[in-house]
C-alpha cells in the first residue's frame, strides 16, 4: 500500500459539540508537524468537495461527533467497512448523510482509501446554535489525538512536535478560541430550537 494519509475532521463548528471533529484536527495541527505524505483537513459539512482528498489518500482517519447513545464524552473507534455504516447509523445533521455518500461515491469510483479509521466521541449538546464544545467533549480532544497518533504509528508515520501545516483548516475568525470567546450573550441571541429537540419544554 501507499503511505499517503488524510486526517479529516468533519462536523459543523456552529452547533456546539458537532464541531468536535474539526476542533480535533485544529489542535492536532497546532501541536504536531507531519511528513508531506500526510494531509490535515477541516472538512466542515462538505460532501463532494472532499472527493479529491479521498482519491489522493491511501488511508483515512476521520474525527467526528457521533451519537452512539452512550454517556457523553465516551470515545469509540471503528475501522474498515464498518465506518460508512456507523456514520449512517444515526444522523444528527446533514454532514453525516453527506460523508456517508462521499465514501459510497469514492467506492463507486473505485478510489476510496484502502484503510478507514473513525474516531468518534459521544456529544453532550448539539442543540445550542452558536455554541462551543462542552467541557466533557472538549476533554476528549487530546485522547482522540492520542488514538490517532497510535494508529499513525501502526502505519509507520511519526510526527514531530511543533506547529504543523494549517493551510487547510478554518479561518482564524472561527478557530475555537475566537469563536467561543466572541459569542453574543443569550439575551442578545436566542440559542434554543423548538420543542421537538427540547422535550422538557413540551
Amino acid at each position: 500500500m501507499g503511505n499517503s494519509v488524510l486526517i479529516l475532521g468533519i462536523g459543523n463548528v456552529l452547533w456546539a459539540d458537532e464541531g468536535f471533529g474539526v476542533r480535533c484536527v485544529e489542535r492536532m495541527a497546532a501541536r504536531w508537524s507531519f511528513p508531506d505524505t500526510v494531509t490535515v483537513l477541516d472538512g466542515g459539512t462538505q460532501g463532494l468537495y472532499l472527493l479529491p482528498f479521498l482519491e489522493a489518500a491511501d488511508s483515512l482517519i476521520v474525527f467526528d461527533a457521533i451519537d452512539y447513545g452512550l454517556r457523553p464524552g465516551t470515545m469509540k473507534t471503528v475501522e474498515g467497512d464498518e465506518v460508512p455504516s456507523f456514520l449512517g447509523a444515526k444522523k444528527m445533521s446533514l454532514h453525516q448523510t453527506g460523508f456517508q455518500e462521499v465514501i459510497a461515491t469514492a467506492r463507486l469510483m473505485e478510489y476510496c482509501p484502502e484503510n478507514l479509521f473513525l474516531i468518534g466521541c459521544q456529544p453532550e449538546e448539539l442543540e445550542d446554535f452558536g455554541g462551543g464544545l462542552r467541557d466533557v467533549t472538549a476533554a476528549q480532544i487530546d485522547p482522540a489525538i492520542s488514538i490517532a497518533l497510535d494508529k499513525l504509528k501502526d502505519w509507520g508515520i511519526t510526527p514531530v512536535p511543533g506547529h504543523g501545516d494549517d493551510s487547510l483548516l478554518a479561518d482564524r475568525a472561527i478557530l475555537r478560541d475566537a469563536y467561543e470567546t466572541g459569542r453574543p450573550s443569550e439575551q442578545e441571541a436566542c440559542r434554543t430550537g423548538d420543542d421537538r429537540f427540547f422535550p422538557e419544554g413540551a
Partner: protein, 597 residues
C-alpha cells in the same frame, strides 16, 4: 373546504393527506404535505422547513470583516456564494471599492460555483428523479453507444466497450449491496419513462460528472487558497498576483492561470457535449410531463449578478439579469432595489417566529429573528411528534419573504424568465434555440422541466462568461495591474460610527441577499434572505402560497405512496434548507418516510 388564494390557486385540503418527511437528496431538512383528490391529483400543498434558523443572531457583536467565515459554514454546498454576499454587504456599508482584478476573480469564482452546482445538481441530486440506474443494467451497450453518438456526435466517450465497462462497474456496485447512492428510489414506478439505453447513458455521465466536478473545484483552490471553505477578503480577494513567480506559495502565477484556463475549457466541453444534450435527450422522453411551473409564469425575482465593471451594481452592468415580474405580465420588468423598505419584506404569520404583532412585514435591515414555536389548532400529533401540520396556523421555520407583497420564484428559471422578458440577447437566443430543437412552445418553460433546462442553459452561458472574465483578468495583468485588494478602509478607525449595507448575489439556486447593520465597528444586526426562503416560503398574511407549494398544485401522481412527482418538482428548485433554516433533525432517516393519511 376550498380556499382561493390571492395569487390564483384553489386549495382543497379535503382529500387524502400525504406526508413526505424528510425530502431527501437536498441540503438540509424539509417536509412536505399534500392533499390529493380521488384521481391522485395534488389539490393542496404545504411545504415546511423543519429546523430553527439562527445564523443571524450568532453574528451579533462580531467583527464585520469576519462575517464571511461564519456564513461559509451554514451550508454544505454554496460556501463561496454566502461569503461573496457577505463581503459585498460589508463593502457596501463601509463604502469600500474593489480593484478590477478582484472583480474578475470574484466573477470567475462565482461563475465557477454556478457551473459546479448546476452540474452536480443535475447529475447527482436531480437526475435520479428521471433516470433509473437499476434499469441501466438491462441496457445493450451497443445500442447505448449508438444513442450517445446520435445525441452528441462530438462526445468522444461513446464506444460500446466503454458503456459495457461502466455497466459492469455499476453491476458490481449494486450487487455488493452498497446501493447507498441509489437506494432512495422507487425504481419500478411507472413515472420513470426512459428506455434502458438512455438510463445507461445518463448514469455513465453521472460518473463523468463526478470526475469533472473534482476539476472544477480546483479553480476555488487556486483563487481562494483552499477548498472546501475558500478564503475571502473584504476589499478584494486574498490571493496576490505574481505572474513571474515560480513556486511562490499562494500567489497566482502563469502556471496557475493556465490551469484555470484549461478547466474553463473542460467545463465548456462538458456543458456543450454532455449536459445540454442529456437534458434534451431525457427531456424528450418527458415532453408530456409539463407540470410544476407554479409561480414561474406569474412572479419571478432576480437580483442579478456578475458585474462587468467593478463596483457598479446597476442593472445594465450585470451579466445575469436583475428584475421582477409580477401578475404574469412578461411585457413589464420592474427594477429591484434591495434597499427600498417597501420592496423586500419578510412576514412571519405562518412561520415559527414573532414580530410582536400580526400582519407585519419587515425589511431585512429591521429584521427580527425571534422564535415562537406553536402549532395551529387543527394540527395532528404533538409538538414533539407532528403527524399533520395545520397550514392555517404557524407551520414552518422559513419566513415568508415577499416582493411588494408578492410571493416570488427565484433561481435559474426566474433569471431566465426575467432575462427573456428583458430581451437579454444571449438568454433569448439560448431559449429560442432550445425550444426550437425540442419542438416546444414558449409556455413549456413554465414547468419542472423548464427549471431543469434553464439550469443547463445557464451553466453553458456561465462558462462563456467565465472565459470572458478570465481573458479580461489576463489582459489587465499584462497591462501591468496586479492589484487584488483595496485595504484603505481595513482599519475600523476609518469607519463611520454607524453604517448599513446590503450584499446581493445570484446563488446557483437563486437571489441571495445579506443585510448588515454595523455599529461601533461591530455587527449590530445581520439578516440573510436566501433563495430557499423565497421558494420554500410558507403562506403569508394574505394567504399567498410560496413557489414550492404553487409548483406542486394540480400535479397528478402515479402512485401517491411513492412521491416521485413531488420529489421531481421540489428537486428542480435545488432546495437548500441548510441555510434557510438551521439543521437540527432529531433523527434523520435516510429514506423518506412517506405517510398516507
Amino acid at each position: 373546504m376550498v380556499i382561493q388564494t390571492p395569487n390564483g390557486y384553489a386549495l382543497d385540503n379535503s382529500g387524502q393527506r400525504i406526508v413526505v418527511d424528510p425530502v431527501t437528496r437536498i441540503e438540509g431538512h424539509m417536509r412536505c404535505e399534500v392533499n390529493v383528490d380521488e384521481q391522485g391529483v395534488i389539490r393542496n400543498a404545504v411545504s415546511t422547513g423543519t429546523m430553527w434558523r439562527g445564523l443571524e443572531v450568532i453574528l451579533k457583536g462580531r467583527d464585520p470583516r469576519d462575517a464571511w467565515a461564519f456564513t461559509e459554514r451554514i451550508c454544505g454546498v454554496c460556501t463561496g456564494t454566502h461569503a461573496l454576499t457577505s463581503v459585498r454587504a460589508v463593502e457596501d456599508a463601509l463604502g469600500i471599492t474593489i480593484p478590477d482584478n478582484a472583480n474578475s476573480i470574484r466573477n470567475i469564482m462565482q461563475l465557477n460555483l454556478e457551473i459546479h452546482d448546476h452540474v452536480v445538481h443535475f447529475y447527482h441530486l436531480h437526475a435520479l428523479d428521471w433516470v433509473n440506474p437499476i434499469n441501466a443494467l438491462k441496457a445493450d451497450p451497443k445500442a447505448t453507444s449508438e444513442l450517445q453518438q446520435a445525441v452528441s456526435p462530438s462526445h468522444p466517450m461513446s464506444s460500446p466497450g466503454y458503456f459495457r465497462d461502466v455497466q459492469n462497474r455499476l453491476k458490481k456496485f449494486v450487487e455488493s449491496g452498497q446501493l447507498g447512492l441509489f437506494k432512495n428510489g422507487y425504481w419500478d414506478n411507472p413515472a420513470y419513462l426512459l428506455p434502458p439505453e438512455a438510463d445507461l447513458m445518463a448514469t455513465t455521465h453521472y460518473l463523468e460528472a463526478l470526475d469533472l466536478q473534482k476539476e472544477i473545484v480546483k479553480v476555488h483552490t487556486i483563487f481562494g487558497g483552499k477548498n472546501p471553505h475558500p478564503n475571502w477578503l473584504v476589499g478584494g480577494v486574498p490571493c496576490p498576483i505574481n505572474v513571474d513567480g515560480v513556486g511562490s506559495v499562494g500567489a497566482i502565477n502563469m502556471e496557475r492561470l493556465n490551469l484555470v484556463s484549461s478547466i474553463i475549457d473542460k467545463c465548456h466541453e462538458f456543458n456543450v457535449n454532455v449536459y445540454l444534450p442529456d437534458v434534451k435527450a431525457i427531456g424528450g422522453f418527458y415532453k408530456n410531463w409539463l407540470y410544476g411551473g407554479g409561480l414561474s409564469s406569474q412572479a419571478c425575482l432576480a437580483y442579478g449578478d456578475i458585474p462587468e465593471i467593478a463596483n457598479d451594481f446597476s442593472a445594465e452592468n450585470l451579466h445575469l439579469p436583475r428584475g421582477a415580474i409580477i401578475d404574469g405580465d412578461l411585457s413589464k420588468v420592474h427594477d429591484v432595489d434591495q434597499r427600498d423598505p417597501e420592496q423586500v419584506q419578510e412576514f412571519v404569520d405562518h412561520s415559527w417566529y414573532t414580530y410582536g404583532e400580526p400582519g407585519k412585514g419587515l425589511h431585512p435591515w429591521d429584521g427580527i429573528t425571534e422564535p415562537q414555536y406553536e402549532l395551529g389548532p387543527n394540527a395532528k400529533g404533538t409538538k414533539t411528534n407532528i403527524e399533520e401540520l395545520d397550514e392555517a396556523g404557524k407551520y414552518s421555520w422559513i419566513k415568508a419573504p415577499r416582493w411588494r407583497g408578492h410571493a416570488m420564484e427565484v433561481g435559474p428559471l426566474a433569471r431566465y424568465v426575467v432575462g427573456y422578458a428583458k430581451g437579454h440577447e444571449d438568454i433569448k437566443d439560448q431559449v429560442d434555440r432550445f425550444l426550437g430543437d425540442m419542438g416546444l412552445p414558449l409556455e413549456a418553460v413554465f414547468s419542472t422541466l423548464g427549471r431543469t433546462a434553464a439550469r443547463a442553459l445557464e451553466s453553458e452561458y456561465c462558462g462563456r462568461l467565465q472565459r470572458h472574465f478570465f481573458d479580461k483578468l489576463v489582459q489587465n495583468i499584462k497591462n501591468g495591474d496586479s492589484t487584488t485588494a483595496n485595504v484603505e478602509k481595513w482599519d475600523p478607525s476609518t469607519w463611520p460610527k454607524e453604517a448599513i449595507g446590503v450584499g446581493a448575489t445570484e446563488a446557483p439556486r437563486g437571489a441571495l441577499g445579506h443585510w448588515i447593520r454595523i455599529k461601533d465597528g461591530r455587527i449590530e444586526n445581520y439578516q440573510c434572505v436566501v433563495p430557499t426562503t423565497w421558494n420554500g416560503s410558507p403562506r403569508d398574511t394574505k394567504g399567498n402560497i410560496g413557489a414550492f407549494e404553487a409548483s406542486l398544485m394540480n400535479t397528478p401522481m402515479a402512485r401517491p405512496e411513492e412521491p416521485v412527482e413531488i420529489l421531481r418538482t421540489l428537486h428542480s428548485f435545488d432546495p437548500c434548507l441548510a441555510c434557510s433554516t438551521h439543521v437540527m433533525s432529531p433523527d434523520g432517516d435516510e429514506l423518506a418516510d412517506v405517510k398516507v393519511r
